[in-house]
Symmetry: C2
Subunit: 494 residues, 2 copies
Amino acid sequence: MTFRAVKPIDGAPYGVEIPEHSKSEVDLLIKKATASSHSIATQSPKKRALLLRTIAAEIEASRASLIELACAETALPEARIAGEITRTTVQFELFARLVETGKHLAVAIDKADPNYSPAPRPDIRKMNHPLGVVAIFAASNFPLAFSVAGGDAASAIAAGNAIVAKAHPSHPNTCATIESAIKSALKKCGLSEDLYSIVQGINPEITHWLALHDEVKAVGFTGSEIVGRILVNLAATRKEPIPVFAEMGSLNPVFVTKNAIADRSEVLAKGIIDSALMGSGQFCTKPGLVFTPNDTDFIETMKSHLATLSVAPLLSKSIAERYSSAIAKLSSAGKIEVASGATNEAGFGVTPTIFITDWATAAANHELLEEHFGPTTVVITCDENQYVEIASSLQGQLTATIQGTDDDKPAELLSILKEKAGRVIWNGFPTGVAVTSAMNHGGPWPSSSSHTTSVGTDAIYRFMRPVAYQGFAQNVLPEPLQDANSWAVPQSIN
Amino acid sequence: MTFRAVKPIDGAPYGVEIPEHSKSEVDLLIKKATASSHSIATQSPKKRALLLRTIAAEIEASRASLIELACAETALPEARIAGEITRTTVQFELFARLVETGKHLAVAIDKADPNYSPAPRPDIRKMNHPLGVVAIFAASNFPLAFSVAGGDAASAIAAGNAIVAKAHPSHPNTCATIESAIKSALKKCGLSEDLYSIVQGINPEITHWLALHDEVKAVGFTGSEIVGRILVNLAATRKEPIPVFAEMGSLNPVFVTKNAIADRSEVLAKGIIDSALMGSGQFCTKPGLVFTPNDTDFIETMKSHLATLSVAPLLSKSIAERYSSAIAKLSSAGKIEVASGATNEAGFGVTPTIFITDWATAAANHELLEEHFGPTTVVITCDENQYVEIASSLQGQLTATIQGTDDDKPAELLSILKEKAGRVIWNGFPTGVAVTSAMNHGGPWPSSSSHTTSVGTDAIYRFMRPVAYQGFAQNVLPEPLQDANSWAVPQSIN
């Protein structure tokens, strides 16, 4: 069985015939990854950092080819792909800077204390260890930044795990080039190429083979709530359940105050539309719900700005079809105003479309309050004093935004939104997720399956587990736990 | 519907008639806890620490009554119960010391940086927030230390959550006294008593009512793998799945080297038996598998020491019946030598029993390699050079122990055991879990459902989730994220 990539720009097949991985091939890759996992797990922080930097360099060395492949496979503009490549390499560099400090090992040393209460305490020393083999599932919408060398893979490698990554069938050649770059980096660092492999295929069974394999110790996933739920359920049915770190759906509500409209109506209206259409609306942080006072000028500006815009074709035929079908369905519902941008008729092109309705209508039509992947958003007019109640009714979100001015007192609304979202934003747009230590990209279900972040340096902690060593002699302890501390890692000594 | 406690010492009913909580009562307690959860969540570190210390003081003030009730309800000796009370109060004090530093908030501040790569970075500040209402399930075997005010509850309160705790029906009066103490502490600290409630009952549906309630945001559980698995599965079926932090079964294997026997045969043999029989063998860290060279004197010492010992009655009729049935079944299997201690015929009394066999027999009889709650262990003779292979075949464990001497080279065995266990021990006994920052009480499934610890100060991180604040003005940010830092918490500024 083979398959080929498809160009969104014209729907034509692209690139080589790619063989589907069979179950026995997937099993073999996991087995090989397991067999070599010890070698990466026991690297010193310096060697790990060098590996991460070498991966960044090898990806950088493949830039021209990655741009060519990813642009063809996703129809995203070259500047966007170039930015994603830089984001990917910067991410590896950030993890290199973290791991070379050894801070991620979270070393805690409690020396023996015969007077400890309620009982004498032996010498106990704890550190984080990697998990072994981690299965990563690439997202379609970021062919680099959330794909087989995205935040999940980078953090899992930084933690010292071996990786088997499911390539996304909408950009398989991009993924294969990344695999070559990482294998080359492993080789240059004297490590086995088996530590990182991708599996290719359109057969949904591959997901099961990976998530149910005994030697897979955790899953990193970015995609839909439906598939995230499948993975969470599969993991729970295993003889040995494993954690599934799934980043899934989010509506990323934006709450606009009267003051904000009075202050900057035009900039705000255009900014919201631009954010909703960014990447053809295929961002997990797309503002999918906009709550606003019923201000005619503000809404007219959104509509007239939208009317001037078209977007690049969607990433795949199935995404374009799901989008068009959702738009048709919502357009035919009652009491909803529909506004459109320019249609892109090439390939998987679609028409950006926004819906405008009031809260009573939206609250009664659950499809308006669901995520629709693609260049659309739902503008809901309501009274500003309903925001707290509306916010309380929402599901978990990656982000929640307030657009206001210094005259607003957002404390109460904020106190609700922080319960609903992993990141709350003031006077910004949710699209754009900085890779930095204070970032949190996650949130209550369905935005995420766990209380962790999939972006930023803290993502590394998903793929490690603590082990306590009690009573061992210095020469038997791992280096970070020894008094001599030859790796010079931070030791919290008690 | 009511029920009464039962005294293990004679099987007689004990204490008052306790009303079973109905579903509507459970729902109401959760609703009330939710309604007041904001008040504890927003406490300053100083006020939270004061609350934790007041809880410790109120529990201490109930010491006499707790000893009377818990001794009667569990048949554990007074010294053990007294130690558990101290452990419980010390635990609250340790969490008080942690939270007053503010370290648990994990504040990270990334100031705006227009030159950040790959894109300008807005001001982003992250901290941990409590989850809301946490459901705690008490264990039977530690009526204080792992019950309704044990490590799960203490860490969840320290994190700032409201608690609804399922009392264990084998010590319901002890639990009710703890509830009074904590409600009294809440009142003294000016907080609502609704922030902590217990629910009573023998109806297994209560577990479902708690684990499936929309407002319950996490579960802490200590008990069997069977019930842990039920909770994990329930959580996965929720519309909004929640984390289940379950500490479950463990065999706590001990690997004895020839050198250790040559060095200290008698002390070691007696020590292993004493550890296995501690608390009538009802510890989650009981050494349930002992691997040893076939040394006649060593094994005879274990048997002769055991012959002199009896244990207190088991905690409940069902535990005693399960124990006796498992012992009878294993005793009738072939190729297994059985050695016994003295029978305690009072109430739920049983006969401590150990089984001695070789690895070939054990490997072929999976019941020998399962946890049997109560005063028993399985001694498996084998060649020391089989230890690595045997260790590789084991499931996840809370602990794994090597008993050796300085002449042993345990590196290879240790490298396997650290993959299998949350805590590895050299020349100690697994029973006895220090409440300290470097402790890890958890391990791969089935010992734990997550990569976290349920004992020690790091247990707090199970019951918090990060929230990132982007672009907010100083006066809107929570205190720990403000530049002024009036709570004086550690801020990691980037």
